[in-house]
């Protein structure tokens, strides 16, 4: 102690009783709470497994001895041209082109996760940036952005999707910015969902910017950029992560819907939604073609939803105190 009077006054209260206990970072606290939620841990395993499957799809298909997802084999259709059901060599059966359904479901995870994660990433970056600007600067910036959000929220996104899907089907549009397939879907997701993120972030920033630590940083001479990205953003990480995790399954479903409508992923690239669409006319005779991609979709969406709920409970900022 460099100050004599401070020492006798302060010394006895300086060392809290838990001084020998390792300091816990918010991450460690989060993990301890998260671990206790079994459903969330289980869904985390499912999500990790899905990601592994998506990344290692060719390897897994190889190991299982399945044909590639776009290998057509008309020998596998019956006398009337109907596909054959599940068998030892084709556990999920084949489709009407003789393509292996299991192989396609495994590859389909790639598209779903790509759309889910990239789409969420794009809309989160846009939403967080604009929401933060609106909440931080308030005034006319806020008014402008709030009206813009209203405009975007009033776009009938499925109709726009049908339009853009048709317009960009062959060569892409907006100077190649929107490519047919994945590009169209991610573009649609981004413009359809960023206002939701932006609104949430705006609300949080409005309350965070009134906290005294923001004034303290400002008094130290921090720039607006520093205040937003170094002081406010870390406090938004928990809600952003939770919201993004809950956004992923919605985007996966959106991709499935668009692909079902024929404006998303095009054959031969497999996508669950597109498989379900293909299966619709022949469901009476070939149930497996719809059930397996449908189940994969269900499990994926459920796992992400449960993971999101678990994260929300564990990251609850009030609990961190």
């Amino acid at each position: 102690m460099s100050w004599a009077p401070a020492a006798p006054l302060g010394a006895d209260v300086l060392v809290p009783p838990s001084a020998d206990v390792e300091a816990r970072s918010p991450l460690q606290l989060f993990w301890r709470r998260f671990r206790r939620d079994r459903l969330a841990v289980a869904s985390l395993f499912v999500v990790v497994a899905l990601i592994v499957v998506a990344i290692a799809a060719p390897l897994i298909v190889d190991v299982l001895g399945l044909p590639g997802p776009d290998v057509q084999n008309l020998n596998l259709t019956n006398y009337f041209g109907g596909p054959l059901g599940p068998s030892w060599s084709h556990p999920f059966g084949v489709d009407k082109l003789g393509e292996d359904v299991m192989s396609r479901v495994i590859y389909g995870a790639r598209v779903s996760l790509e759309v889910g994660i990239i789409g969420t990433l794009v809309s989160t970056v846009i939403g967080v940036t604009l929401g933060m600007l609106a909440g931080f600067y308030r005034g006319w910036v806020d008014t402008l952005l709030a009206r813009t959000m209203d405009v975007f929220l009033s776009i009938p996104i499925l109709l726009l999707g049908l339009g853009i899907g048709a317009a960009c089907a062959v060569r892409g549009c907006a100077a190649g910015l929107i490519q047919p397939g994945l590009g169209v879907i991610i573009f649609l997701i981004a413009i359809a969902t960023w206002p939701f993120q932006a609104r949430i972030v705006r609300g949080l920033v409005l309350s965070l910017r009134e906290q005294e630590f923001i004034d303290a940083s400002r008094a130290l001479g921090a720039s607006d950029m520093r205040l937003m990205f170094r002081e406010i953003l870390p406090n938004l990480s928990a809600p952003i992560i939770v919201y993004a995790t809950l956004q992923i399954p919605l985007n996966i479903l959106f991709e499935a819907a668009l692909s079902y409508l024929g404006i998303g992923i095009r054959p031969p690239t497999p996508s669950w939604g597109q498989m379900i669409a293909d299966a619709t006319p022949i469901f009476n005779t070939a149930w497996w073609y719809m059930v397996f991609p449908g189940a994969a979709l269900l499990v994926t969406v459920l796992a992400f939803n449960l993971l999101g709920d678990g994260l929300r409970d564990a990251l609850n900022p009030r609990g961190a105190r």
Binding site: L9, A23, P26, G221
Partner: protein, 346 residues
């Protein structure tokens, strides 16, 4: 306390400072409809090494004054001089340079520290912002030294604010404010959120730091005993105006403004033998600063109010007791006696 003071130019001088908060302030709403006059034309100076206390009820504009001085709010009109330089409208790098000279300690130790940052990075933030001590090891050493200075265990460098008590958090805030070695330290009710047992520790820390670093301090408080303990001079605010300002002794010993008298009369005295001392407590609440009374803004609650008071606003001027008072009818000795205030009491 104010012995080695260079009295040529005051460190801070405030002239006719005004801050009005316009309601709504939207694109359509009329701008000046019933603006809240948080600070309504105050002037004072703070000498180097001096400790000025700013007291008054909640909502009288104390914190707004502090935020104006810190340039966290922009003044509606008036001027703030720092070492003779007008900083009222400074911007950009020049404002940033001034910020190194003046720092602030905040009221709420729970919201004044970013919960997502370690104590080390909170105290190092001033260095990061101003590009000082770029070397990591050196920065850590500086931070740990600051922690030691304010009575924190330097080992707790990597802990998060939620692991500290209110008093310790306030010490973290003090360390952060001192990191840039400012000349002026503004403490906005630094202890009112703390337990009484902790308040004295933090106040003594502030006083020791003030003495050893030669800081100029503005202490905002609503606790008059705290201010008396800490300050050389005291300014009493009411409804956005200074009603009485002066050195410690005359202000506490012979308060002239009826409001100062009422505040002092309300101070609890930890002495049972004085239990029956006369008291004169104010009734009612302060009027709304959006619609302040005419003339002297205190006349609606003043026991001595006369016709003149609601008609003409009194100037802040010396009345022979050693303080500057804004009152047409300052308290007399007998009146002080009747209120139980003055040199004999407290």
């Amino acid at each position: 306390m104010s012995a080695a003071v260079d009295t040529d130019t005051p460190l801070v001088e405030v002239r006719d400072l005004v801050k009005h908060f316009a309601p709504g302030g939207g694109l359509i709403a009329p701008r000046n409809a019933g603006a809240v006059r948080a600070v309504d034309g105050i002037s004072f100076a703070i000498g180097r090494g001096e400790t000025l206390g700013l007291v008054g009820e909640s909502g009288c504009g104390k914190s707004t004054t502090a935020r104006l001085l810190m340039r966290l709010l922009d003044a509606t009109s008036g001027q703030i001089f720092f070492e003779g330089q007008d900083i009222t409208r400074l911007k950009g790098p020049r404002l940033k340079a001034i910020r190194r000279q003046a720092q602030m300690i905040f009221q709420d130790p729970y919201s004044s520290l970013n919960p997502r940052k370690t104590v080390g990075s909170i105290i190092a933030e001033p260095f990061a912002i101003h590009g000082l001590h770029r070397d990591r090891g050196e920065r850590k050493r500086e931070v740990q030294q600051l922690m030691e200075t304010v009575g924190l265990n330097p080992e707790h460098y990597n802990r998060y604010p939620h692991e500290f008590s209110g008093g310790q958090r306030q010490r973290i805030g003090v360390a952060r404010a001192l990191a840039l070695r400012p000349k002026l330290l503004i403490a906005d009710e630094p202890v009112s959120a703390l337990d009484v047992s902790i308040q004295a520790q933090v106040l003594n820390l502030l006083r020791n730091l003030q003495r050893s670093l030669g800081l100029t301090v503005v202490l905002i408080a609503h606790d008059l005993s705290v201010v008396r303990h800490m300050c050389d001079r005291v300014a009493v605010m009411y409804l956005g105006k200074i009603v009485e300002i002066g050195p410690n002794e005359p202000l506490y010993g012979s308060p002239c403004h009826p409001y100062t008298g009422a505040l002092l009369s309300a101070v609890p005295v930890p002495d049972p033998s004085l239990h029956g001392r006369p008291r004169r407590l104010l009734g009612g609440d302060p009027p709304s600063p959006a619609n302040p009374p005419s003339g002297c803004s205190f006349h609606t609650r003043c026991p001595k109010a006369a016709e003149l008071c609601s008609a003409q606003e009194p100037m802040l001027e010396p009345k022979g007791s050693g303080t500057d008072v804004a009152c047409h009818y300052p308290l007399s000795g007998e009146e002080r006696e009747a209120m139980g205030v003055g040199s004999s009491a407290i």
